[in-house]
């Protein structure tokens, strides 16, 4: 997967995750172009489209569009299910997730995605395991790791 975008029906970008480096300007252009293209599509249309040399897979959940760009040889149907698994995880975590949850807890949405997808590839497909990892993070408020000596050395502590 090359990138994933979450945006609202009004075309507001809610989350962006890039697995291939692009300059900021290019990212903005790509985002604009895809949001316009996808919002113009009708409900009964296929979830796939060809765009530049990539395949775009997208799906709408309530007011949010989830959109992934994948390589030619990647599997479209399974990408739909990566999206779905992500939605399930958000749903489970926030308890029936809505757009506002993702706006106000955007950092959590990122953390969750990092558990599911690493470097553009699916890392852990088990819902139980991902939720376990996230729960472990939430528990780790206070860690016993000693302060990093290096930073003191640099006067940055």
């Amino acid at each position: 997967m090359q990138f994933m975008l979450l945006f609202s029906r009004q075309g507001k970008l809610r989350l962006q995750k890039w697995y291939v480096a692009h300059p900021d300007k290019a990212k903005k252009k790509i985002t604009r172009e895809l949001i316009t293209t996808i919002l113009a599509r009708k409900p009964k249309m296929s979830s796939f489209l060809e765009w530049r040399d990539l395949k775009i897979v997208y799906k709408r959940y309530a007011s949010l569009y989830f959109c992934c760009a994948i390589d030619q040889e990647d599997n479209e149907l399974l990408t739909l299910e990566v999206i779905h698994r992500y939605v399930e995880l958000l749903d489970k975590y926030f308890g029936s997730v809505c757009e506002l949850d993702i706006i106000f807890n955007f950092e959590k949405a990122y953390f969750m995605l990092d558990e599911l997808v690493v470097g553009g590839e699916v890392c852990e497909t088990s819902k139980k395991n991902v939720l376990k990892a996230i729960a472990a993070q939430d528990l780790l408020q206070e860690d016993e790791t000693p302060p990093n000596a290096l930073f003191d050395e640099h006067g940055l502590g």
Partner: protein
Amino acid sequence: MPAVRGDGMRGLAVFISDIRNCKSKENEVKRINKELANIRSKFKGDKTLDGYQKKKYVCKLLFIFLLGHDIDFGHMEAVNLLSSNKYTEKQIGYLFISVLVNTNSDLIKLIVQNIKNDLNSRNPVHVNLALQCIANIGSKEMAEAFGHDIPKLLVSGETMDVVKQSAALCLLRLFRTNPDIIPGGEWTSRIIHLLNDQHLGVVTAASSLIEALVKLNPDEYKGCVSLAVSRLSRIITASYTDLQDYTYYFVPAPWLSVKLLRLLQHYPPPEDPGVRGRLNECLDAILNKAQEPPKSKKVQHSNAKNAVLFEAISIIIHSDSEAALLVRACNQLGQFLSHRETNLRYLALETMCLLATSEFSHEAVKKHQETVINSLKTERDVSVRQRAVDLLYAMCDRTNAEQIVHEMLNYLESADYSIREEMVLKVAILAEKYAGDYTWYVDVILNLIRIAGDYVSEEVWYRVIQIVVNREDVQGYAAKTVFEALQAPACHENMVKVGGYILGEFGNLIAGDKRSAPQVQFQLLHSKYHLCSASTRALLLTTYIKFINLFPEIKTEIQNILKCDSNLRCSDAELQQRASEYLHLSLVTSTDVLATVLEEMPPFAEKESSILAVLKKKSGRMSAQEAHKEARAAGGAGGAAAAVAAGAVKNSTNDKNAKNSSADLFGISTPPVNSQNNSSSNTGVLVDVLGDLYSSSNNSSMPSVATNGTNSASPATLTSGVTDNIKKFVCKNNGVLYENDIIQIGVKSEFRQNLGRIGVFYGNKTSMPLQGFLPSVSISSADSGRVSVQVKPVESTIEAGAQVQQFVNCECIDHFEDLPEMLVCFTYGSVPQRLSLKLPLSINKFFEPTDMNGESFFARWKNLSSPSQESQQIFKTTCPMESGSIRTKVMGFGMQILEGIDPNPENFVCAGILHTRTQQIGCLMRLEPNRQAQMYRLTIRASKDGTAKILCNLLSQQF
């Protein structure tokens, strides 16, 4: 405001609320600027912020950045957070730097150090955070800093499963940045054996990594085939309860299954009959499951199940050897064609296109013709209709061409504008390819012009004219048909062009009929004249002068037209010139001369339809399909080869188009098409194929691959395009290193002392992007440690026609023998390409020329007298022994030519110092050409043992 989870930051939530409540963009910007000022003052203030506050402000900055505003501070505070002992602070720090990577080198060092600390942490949650960060950034620096540790982490028995998963994918990301970081040798088998891991999550992550490694180096990882097959087989035969949480909506481990099937597609069907049998059983089982009633009504179940199914079909198509499986796959897809899910219809149409190109399943695909035609008419999504058009095109053959063309013409009347042009091209190609009877072909093309005239490109109507000119049997029919078509009250300008040209050539064939008498023909054409553009008028003027020759009885009438002010004084120079020249031609020349000048056009050269090239150029998807098809045509002898051939077809035909469109196809001043083509048209295909082999690639290379389907032609096109100039680079630093029909690789290099910088330029010659572009350089094991190269990364895509450059920094550490290997991998169409080349880096590049007099030369020569310091070769030459060119080569070799030392002026005596990191090697050389014998004697002495031999081998190959 919704509840904030975890240890939510209230200040952040308030800020986000504020932003959301802003009524206008200006308000929002104002609020953000206020916040930025606040954060800046907090960061700069005297009061030390505690971790929580830092985290909160960094998080606000991140939010502002994600809203689309620029952030130019706060990086240091974010890096500070990395070393926090509170996990959530650390996490926010990592998130910030992952999103806002800054190349500021001071910070990078700090970041790397922090990541290192976390990687060594005993807490797996911290290790994972570090790994995810590396994978998110994936920069060159990261590859350098962690390329060593992560493989260890991945295969170590002590690493926890969750960490292994991240490590595998982290390594994959770094491998994409720099392929050299993957250790070879024993690591290969340790990595492959991750496929046997107990933990399915580990296997899933590892299989992604292995798939990428296999893509670049299939031989090295061959061992994974049998492991992958047995893993797959265990999953497929498992019941959905066996795999617990790795079962997704009643489908056992769909992600892993798809990955394994993908991995296996990089290999031919397994040779071991046992493995092969097991794989076929799996594929069979997957096809069987597709027929079972669904275990759930949820779309997730069907998607996951079908994702595996499509991947299985993909491997079946890829191996193209099991007829039974191919037919079963086709039948399965046939069912999807009328499925209620649009997505499945879309994918089925797309995949069937590939099945249509296999001889085993072509007939099976044809059974679904009615359904496909029906989807063309009823699908509501244009992208699905587009797929249907593609499939009809792919399944077309002699038996169904008339019906398919008929249906496509029907559809064209109502087709979406976005796909009309491509459809026109496809119809034109099919009509020509499968025309049993050329009257049908003429009808189809005229219909195309009638229905979609605006979308009929020049190539299409040029082509119909070429065919009519070349086929006597259809000329009368064509004249009659265009004459009728021109009678329509509003006819397209393209029709006027075709009509004008054909009547000008063959109007006499229908002039016997009173209804199409010369005068009627002329008046019909001239009635359109004033409505047409200048280029069409120019064409019509040529038709008129041709009429003067064909029909002397209307000569005066035509002369009057030519004479009239609107032509003779036309503001368009071309029209004015034509009118005046044609008029004078008709006034002053005898009928004999006129008849000679205006004779019927000779036949055009029989070539591949240029339309096909346009179609390929138009859509990348098409070219991929064609490449696939041609891979099969070439007997499956490697997709890469066929793709090269396809590239050749494309390039040469494009050249031709350029020629055609610039030349005046009709002007009297230009002889009708060039005579060189005429001569070859009579001699037939065989000579053209040979012509390909012997002629230079840019001119008459005839693209015979696609249309006539002669397999023998593809190797011909293949060999013609490739040049590898590596040998020449021993004595020069700049130039074209390698070129084939897809890519041109140029080199520009400079050297100083023991250092060098080689700029490599990759130019994409095609009209499709080259993807997954990944050049890599490796040093032979014999030379490892003697020379070092450092390859800068390049972008993974080279756009059509674009060039990218890559720098390779090199250092000579000790004398070395072999040129470094250069492997260039990329995907063209969907076909992976691998070019195995050499980097033009030879030891002599590090020469410094040294001047000396005869006395010191001989003294040194004598000093270097041990046998291992000298090397001598006597060899015959194949090149002409011209002293100028010998001198150029010797100078290019890098040593100083010393004049006046050797009594024989024909001989060359040279001296130079080789700079390596460890030492300087003094070298002396004598080269004696013997013209009578066409031989050379080359003697080299060098201060280091063995160096002379290396140099001698290098230089002797240059003559």
